[in-house]
Symmetry: C2
Subunit: 126 residues, 2 copies
DNA sequence: CTGGATCCAAGCCGATACTG
DNA sequence: CAGTATCGGCTTGGATCCAG
């Protein structure tokens, strides 16, 4: 547990202090819908409508919006099959897969500490 | 790079599908301010006003709000020194430190793919 | 210094309707 | 099926003021 072992730069936090582009990307991606989309696309390629079903509670609009954002940042690739009706598939790119490992880490974390968090909440009360 | 190696449950995504508490916690924490706070607190214990300076652009209100949320979920511990003027320090708990590793991963990711993302954005255009 | 409360604008997000 | 556009409510979040 005491073994920290991250591969980033000497001081990762410096990134968030200095570089405005990094800040922007960070702000783009650090939201729950993007994470959930990445998590599900990590398992397999999915169509728009499949994604809509997997990511419970997401609206048509939010899904579109986040997919565009992820595509723009190169995390997701969009391939259109020119059939009728149209078939559009979304896949994680290599950068997307790389980030997926991180998101997975967060899922694992949630799983691991679920009970403890519940306790903490109860203690905190209101 | 091809070596995926996450420690979570067999299918982490199932967590996000099924457990509503997990979903709620996930939604709480997966936001940029929380991540930035965790990142900076990971480096060292900080006072309220120090955090305000470190996390560039955060408002008084957002900082308070997120700190309460993180405290409630047991990621951050708040210690009040009964001096005058008051001195309040925030530290990461063990769960908080554990999540910090993940956030660090995301910072490292941003750093690593910054150039590629920039390219992708340019290609994407509008 | 820390932080609660209030007011108000900006923008998010869902619903709906409409194209290819 | 996939996606865009528009509208309107309602949440979010910043500014400000007050208290301990």
């Amino acid at each position: 547990m005491g073994t920290k072992q991250y591969t980033g730069a000497p001081e990762d936090a410096d990134l968030m202090r200095a570089d405005s582009l990094a800040r922007e990307i960070f702000s783009d991606i650090a939201n729950k819908w993007a994470f959930l989309i990445i998590e599900f696309l990590g398992e397999r390629t999915l169509r728009f409508s499949e994604l809509r079903n997997e990511v419970e509670g997401i609206s048509h609009k939010m899904l579109t919006q986040n997919l565009r954002m992820l595509e723009r940042n190169g995390l997701v690739e969009r391939t259109v099959h020119p059939t009728v009706p149209p078939r559009v598939e979304y896949t994680l790119t290599e950068p997307g897969q790389a980030l997926r490992a991180t998101v997975d880490g967060m899922c694992g974390w949630t799983h691991k500490y679920l009970g403890r968090i519940e306790d903490s909440r109860r203690r905190f009360g209101a």
